[in-house]
Each structure stands twice: as structure tokens, then as C-alpha cells.
Symmetry: C2
Subunit: 413 residues, 2 copies
């Protein structure tokens, strides 16, 4: 390894190049956005009636049009009737669902007492596999829900710990990304999914938010396979505990896709009842566009292979440079899909690395953001988002990142 003074010299040279690069957010690159250009063609909506005869330009159908429900149902392998198609953001779906649970309860129990609204003995708590998705934590924080960190293992969250915490009736649920987890890109094993299905939480209104954001986001043909939580849960009578969401944000357009929620018949009925007060319908023209353009799940998967062709080299360059520069110094994941690579540095090095990167013009996701409250207790995890920068910029940014990491590590030793 180079000495600190050698590394610092390289860093000064790098700073002089005045980079302006962003690896902070999981955003598709410009070439990925072009893949869905045809979606905007007027021909998809020129005949504006959905299969059930609804004029998609007008009011009605808060549950979504049949063809869009079926498309999501195929993608998630759940019955069409258990899907509600929503607006452009699954984050909004999760926020609204959790807020409504806090306020009105889950809606499936006899009494409609909210998780948080009725004066309660204890505080509402949620389990959060870490490292995890910062925007999940931001929702829980805004709603005043206490977050309990659950360490991620190779197979998924530490389920023994989840089972133990779930014995507390104030623990009302868990929020996670079960496939290509954010940020580690891990997929929960079949055993982990079964352990979820077999949870027997003390709270009968316990809910697992199963954010399947990357359900079809494989980097190659040998992608991970996530076991179907609803199949497993239905077999043991626990399907009401699970609420799954996904969206087209990283299939078509992050800002202008469609999203959905999939859940048990009882949960879907409760959500539909509430949604009736919140909206007359979501944007059905955009549902029609998506359903007709993509056709079916096979059409979506074919489209995702074109994304993968663009993304593989990007993940490749980051992993190549990590292997070249950080072997023996740090650990990282090698995901088969999703949008992130998770980098674990020696303790106390993450913030310093991110700071050095920032001063040299490379923005990373804030160190700590992958933990509740933005505090990584060991200050070691960084989330790397390789998708947005063009390949050559990504190479420059990653080289700077590994340089900064080596400086931070050298400073510690």
C-alpha cells in the first residue's frame, strides 16, 4: 500500500482536476431513459378505453385498470385482484399506508384504533434491517415511529432478532427491500422468506412493508430469485402481515412511471375503502400507456435486459476498481441486480471518505444515511450508486473514491 503522503499527493492532483460527479442516488442514466422513449407515443392512449370499458381520461377506477393490475400481478406473481395500481411513486404508497395505519389503524381489525392515534402506553416501533434505504427511515421518522436496527446477514435480516423483537406488542412492523436490498444488493433466502411468513408477532396489526423495488432488475440472466412471500404466508395464514409495493421508476421513468401495492384480500379491501376518500382515481392514462407498451411481464423482462446491458459495465468498473485498490482493506457486495453496491470500510472511515470525496467534487450518499437517524454506529458503510454517471465519469469517480478510502484508512493506522 502507498504511504499517506503518496496518497495525499495523488489526492491533490485529483482535486486539481475539479471533478463534478454524482454517485449519490439510484437514478437511471440518460441512456436508460431513452430505452422507454416509445412509451410517450400518443398511439398507446389514442383509444382511451381500458379492458373494462373505463375511459382512462376520466374519473373512476381507483383500483387501477385491469390490464395494469394484471401486468403488476404477473411481475410480482400475485393474483390480479390483490393488486391496486397507484400513482408515480411507491414511496408515496408506503408513506400513505403507514400514515393511515398510524392514524386509522390497519383497517382489518374490528376496532379501527390507529397505531399511534389513540393514546397508547408505549411508542410505536418498527424494525429496520441495516444497512437500509434512507427514504424508508425518513418516512418512519416523520411519523414519529421509533426505529430498531436489525443487522443484515448473508441470507437477509437476522430473523432470530426479528422474532425476538416481534414479541413486543409495540413493535408494529418491519420495512425492507427483500430483493437486491438497498444498499447491499442481497436477496433474502427462501429460508428467510419462510421465517417471515412464520412470524407470530404479539401485535395483531403488525405489518411488513415488502418494498420489492427491484423485482425485475437483474444484471444478467442468472439473477436472484426471491421466494413468493404471499404463497408462503397464505399457507400458514399470515398473509395479512405483508404489504408489497413496487413501481416502474427504474423500468420506464423515475418521475413518471406507475406504482402498485399488492396485499391480502383483507388488506386490499381496507386500502380501497380509505383510498375512496383520498382520490377518485390515479392517472389511468399513464397506466394504459404502460400496460400497452410493455404488454406483459415477459415484455418487461425483455426491456430490463436492455437496461442490464447498460448497467453491467457500470457495476463492472466499480467492482474492478474496488478489487484493484481496496482488496484486503475493505469489503463490498457483488450484487446480481438492483441499483447499489455497498462498501464496508474499517470502522470510523466512512464519513472521512465521503468528506474527502466531496471536497474533490464527487458526491456520495451521505455516510450514515443507510442507518436509522443517519447514524452508522461503526461509521463504516457507504452506498455506491453506479448507474447515473456515464461510464468514463464513473471510472474517474470510483478511482477518487478508492483513493479517498485509502487515505481515510491510512489516517487511522
Amino acid at each position: 500500500m502507498q504511504s499517506l503522503s503518496e496518497l495525499t499527493k495523488d489526492y491533490s492532483a485529483a482535486r486539481a482536476r475539479r471533478l463534478q460527479l454524482d454517485m449519490s442516488r439510484g437514478k437511471p442514466g440518460a441512456d436508460q431513459l431513452m430505452l422507454s422513449r416509445g412509451l410517450l407515443d400518443a398511439r398507446w392512449v389514442e383509444q382511451p378505453k381500458s379492458e373494462n370499458g373505463l375511459d382512462c381520461r376520466s374519473y373512476g377506477g381507483p383500483e387501477g385498470i385491469p390490464e395494469a393490475r394484471r401486468l403488476f400481478g404477473e411481475m410480482l406473481d400475485v393474483p390480479t385482484a390483490q393488486v391496486i395500481v397507484c400513482g408515480n411513486s411507491s414511496l408515496t404508497v408506503m408513506y400513505d399506508y403507514l400514515a393511515q395505519c398510524m392514524f386509522l389503524g390497519t383497517g382489518t381489525e374490528e376496532r379501527s384504533a390507529g397505531w399511534g392515534f389513540q393514546p397508547r402506553r408505549g411508542k410505536v416501533k418498527f424494525l429496520c434491517p441495516v444497512p437500509g434505504y434512507d427514504r424508508h427511515f425518513a418516512i418512519l421518522e416523520q411519523l414519529g415511529i421509533e426505529m430498531i436496527a436489525i443487522p443484515m446477514r448473508a441470507q437477509g435480516p437476522d430473523m432470530a432478532l426479528v422474532e425476538q423483537y416481534a414479541r413486543d406488542p409495540d413493535v408494529k412492523g418491519l420495512i425492507c427491500v427483500p430483493k437486491y436490498s438497498n444498499p447491499e444488493g442481497k436477496t433474502y433466502s427462501d429460508e428467510t422468506v419462510r421465517a417471515f411468513a412464520n412470524l407470530r408477532p404479539a401485535a395483531r396489526d403488525f405489518r411488513v412493508i415488502w418494498d420489492n423495488a427491484y423485482c425485475v432488475h437483474d444484471l444478467d440472466d442468472q439473477g436472484d430469485v426471491l421466494h413468493n412471500i404471499f404463497e408462503e404466508a397464505k399457507a400458514v395464514g399470515t398473509e395479512d402481515y405483508f404489504v408489497e409495493v413496487t413501481s416502474f421508476s427504474k423500468i420506464s421513468f423515475p418521475g413518471a412511471g406507475i406504482s402498485c401495492v399488492a396485499a391480502s384480500p383483507a388488506n386490499i379491501a381496507a386500502m380501497q375503502k380509505r383510498m375512496a376518500a383520498q382520490t377518485i382515481s390515479h392517472d389511468k392514462l399513464n397506466q394504459l400507456r404502460h400496460a400497452r407498451y410493455f404488454g406483459d411481464a415477459a415484455g418487461v423482462r425483455a426491456h430490463m435486459r436492455r437496461h442490464a446491458e447498460i448497467l453491467r459495465p457500470k457495476f463492472g468498473v466499480v467492482l474492478e476498481l474496488f478489487a484493484r485498490d481496496l482488496t484486503g482493506l475493505a469489503q463490498w457486495t457483488v450484487p446480481k441486480g438492483g441499483y447499489f453496491i455497498s462498501l464496508d470500510l474499517p470502522g470510523g472511515c466512512a464519513k472521512r471518505t465521503a468528506q474527502l470525496c466531496k471536497e474533490a467534487g464527487v458526491v456520495l450518499t451521505s455516510a450514515g444515511a443507510t442507518f436509522p437517524g443517519g447514524i452508522d454506529p461503526e461509521d463504516k458503510n457507504l452506498r455506491v450508486a453506479p448507474t447515473f454517471p456515464p461510464l468514463e465519469e464513473l471510472r474517474a469517480a470510483t478511482e477518487l473514491l478508492t483513493l479517498c478510502a485509502r487515505i481515510a484508512i491510512a489516517e487511522k493506522t
Copy 2:
């Protein structure tokens, strides 16, 4: 007037015609939807960057793109910076705002105690001008807010009564449609708007939801002019009490338009903070489409004149038949815009009339729907929505309505 037996004979003949007509909801007709066909052309979004350089296909810009904010700002005559552009439904904007106030408070006060979340002495109450909009009442009902009916006068709600109730600190606000009110089509007078601005409610977190759904929805060139609530309120330091919404639902497409909220700088700041947890951005491609297609408020007004050409004869035929058949028997409004005509029958006749209509194949908005809880204490008000049926069907439906009304009246006397 015909005798009951003559009327009943006519009714039997009408039933035999097996009508299937719907005057229940304020939906644009098929010809109106065709007016915005060009909006769906791909050329509006082919160059996907907004004025501030944001790629409208991707994430970001939860406050909306500048050109869409400006368009709404012009339409409502409020500064662009005081507008947030949202999704396809202003109903959702109102629901979310009220739910967040219940849960988290208004966000502008030092303490963030929600209207409803902290254990409170009294129940949260809201003032509701009646007759009013059933979907407003449905939101308040779901959130557990007690509704207090305020009678509408010629100039708007009875403001002396509003002032009196606003002395109760548990009264947290009022929800209304100030221009072409739903269902009466009345526009609040300048004096009424000034009385709103000069309210001094006991609750400092009092909010008036100013649902300006019909801001540009005049039936002819001599439309009503609603005085600008923010100008008046700013002058007397009460602008934080007002939250205005509107949408393109009845300008472009009911299911696929864009909506906005306009409010004081303090309220906008509070909403932006909350929105950051709820969404990364609303559908900016649809914002871009609307901003480029309509251009500016003048473009919107020109478009609305084409709607008016379609709607004028529809309102005309209903009013003509009311005058022919119900003069001296009932009272109705003659609105200069909006989507409804309000029919006041003698007490005890509204439900019976709606029931007779239904049995003969004509669906009206449920009698009572224009009052909180769906209960019209005098059972006299019916909301007539003349926009959706083609002209000849509308004539047939209205003839049946006046016949049923005359039967209900004759049965009472």
C-alpha cells in the same frame, strides 16, 4: 298543475322507455375530453428538460417544474413561489394536507402537535358551508373530524355564524368551493372574501381549505370574478389561514390532469418539508405536457371557452325545463359557471324525487349527499350535474326529473 294521477300516468310511460341516464357526477362529456386530445402528442415531452434544467423523466423537483408552477400561479393570481404542483388529484392534496394536520399539525407553529394526534380536550371540528361537496365531507368523516353545517346565503356562507364558531379553539378550519360553489354555482362576494381574510379564529392553527376547483370554468365571457383571498389576507396578516387548491381535472382530463396547492410562504415551506418524506417528485412529464400545451393562463382561458360552448346548451336545457315545469314549485340556481345546478324542492321531497328517478333509470347524486353525513335536515336539496350526458339524453333525463319532482310534491300536498 297536473293531478297526481295524470303525473303518475306520465311516469309509467316514462318508465316504459327504460332510460339509462346518469346525472350524478360532475364529469365532462366525451366531446369535452376530445378538446384536449392534442395534449397527448409526444412532441410536448420529446425535449424532456424543464426550464430549470430538470429532466422531467427522472427524479427530483417535488415542488413542480417552474413552467407548471407559473401556469397555476397565473390562473390563481398568486406568486409562482407560493405554488406547489402535485399529482392528478386536488382531492388527494386536500386529504393529505388535512391528514397531516391531524397527525403532525400545520407545521408552521413552534410545536408540531397535530390537530388530532396529541390527546386533546375536545374533538376537532370543521365548518362546512351547506349545501356543499360530498367528497369534502367524506375526507373529514374519515379523519374523524366533526362537521358543523354553515348555511349558504346569496353572497357565500353565513359569515356571522362562521365568526361565532371560530371562537371555539376546537374549530380548526373550514372547507369550501368559493367560486361556482358545488353544488349551487355561487361565487363568494368581495365582502365575503374580506370577511374570511378578517377572521380571527381562536385556534392559531386554523385553516380554510379554499377549493378553487372552478377558477376558470365560466359558462360565458361575463363570468363571476372571485376576489383574491391571498391579497386580502396578506394585507391583514392572516394569509397562513388559507390553503388554496385547484386542478386541470375539468380543463384537460379528470383522471390525468395535474393539480396544485397555493399557500403562504410559511405554509408552502411546511408542506415541502413533509412532502420530502412522501415523494421524490410528482409526475413532471405530465406537468411539462400541460405547461407546454396550454402555454399560459390566456391559453387555458381560450381552451375553457371551447368547453363553455359545449356546456352552455346543457345548462340551458336544464334551466329551460325547470322553468317550464317547476316554476312556483321549486327553486334553483342559475350559475355562470362550474359544473352543477342546485335544485331546492319543498321540504321532504328530495329523497322521494331521487328514488322515483332511479326507478325510472335516471341516476342523480344521492339526495342528502350535499350535507355532512349525507343527511339533508330538510330533505330538499338535489345536485344536478348536466355536463356528462349528450344533449338529447340530458333533455330526457331532466324531463323525467321534473316529472318525478312534481309527483313527489303532489304526494305531499
